[in-house]
Symmetry: C2
């Protein structure tokens, strides 16, 4: 993975921020260009099309998540602690950078999420498979496929973050404590 040109990164980050507030289709190329401080035409030096830009954003955002979560994992700790670290790291990342969470929510259910992209190598997925397999091998997690444990956990973090982001007023006004979902999810995946 060669380093991303500075201006290319600038355009990606700018697009990410705008997509959170306006959605894919609410972000004209002209808006992304202006926000990044470049001319509309310049974007086409770095990307073939808007579709291409959004496709690259997916890999860009996924690598941020991967680096953040895997980089903070300490395999020498006991597995339960590692799980809560995982949860908190991902949760905090989504809180600090809601544009990443928002982008993923939109991308996953959009027509941009093609089979080709799904089949691409994913260090993030591979890392998760290993992570949950370790928990299984240690006898801490249910003896299920690591994939299903991954789906359970990532689904919970995602829905927690989605509620936090899209229903913040309701959460505050009803005094809902979303952190309880971490404990609940742990009970969902641990060996009973």
């Amino acid at each position: 993975m060669e380093p991303i040109a500075e201006k290319k990164k600038l355009i990606l980050e700018s697009a990410l921020a705008l997509i959170k507030d306006h959605g894919f289709h609410g972000c004209p190329m002209s808006m992304m260009a202006k926000n990044a401080g470049v001319a509309a035409g310049t974007i086409y030096t770095y990307f073939d099309s808007k579709d291409d830009l959004i496709g690259e954003l997916f890999f860009y955002a996924k690598s941020i998540i991967f680096n953040h979560v895997s980089g903070s994992d300490d395999p020498s700790l006991d597995f339960k602690t590692r799980f809560f670290n995982y949860w908190n790291n991902l949760s905090e990342l989504y809180l600090d950078r809601p544009e990443i969470q928002s982008f993923f929510e939109q991308f996953m259910i959009s027509p941009f999420n093609t089979r080709e992209i799904q089949n691409a190598d994913s260090p993030w997925h591979d890392w998760n498979s290993n992570f949950f397999q370790e928990g299984i091998d240690k006898g801490i997690l249910r003896n299920l496929s690591p994939d299903i444990l991954f789906i359970m956990v990532i689904g919970s973090v995602n829905s927690m973050s989605k509620v936090r982001q899209n229903f913040s007023e309701k959460v505050a006004e009803r005094g809902i404590d979303l952190n309880q979902l971490a404990e609940m999810t742990w009970d969902a995946i641990r060996k009973q």
Copy 2:
């Protein structure tokens, strides 16, 4: 709630089906009209605008879910059975009518999901509050707010359905059994 005019319902169902495949912005009014077998202008007899149509679709889809799930609940059964019935009913509805699941995924994270709509009365939410409160009162579920239990369960059903819908090939090829998520979610909400 007065009954929906036949042609209005036709347009709603037609739009629902198209939105699943093309997304909100991939469905021109002309396409929805053609699919419903009416002229473009006719849609404006029943809806003020495309936004209005999508807003009405939200309440329409939610009422389908509400009727399906609440209508199949049998309060005389023990709570665990009722939970698995709930899960299976919702899961089957999403399987039979993926356009409903797809619409909700898109709507929730879209700008259409306004505060005004969030604050509207929701029989579906009220029913769920009661449902989970019953489980708490019976001493079967964790003593948390019914809202957090609702978020946990609905989040799991949604991510299960999303994976089933958007990653069907991956699921098949890896032999992932998504039904295991029901059991896991039960362990997440039941009193430990």
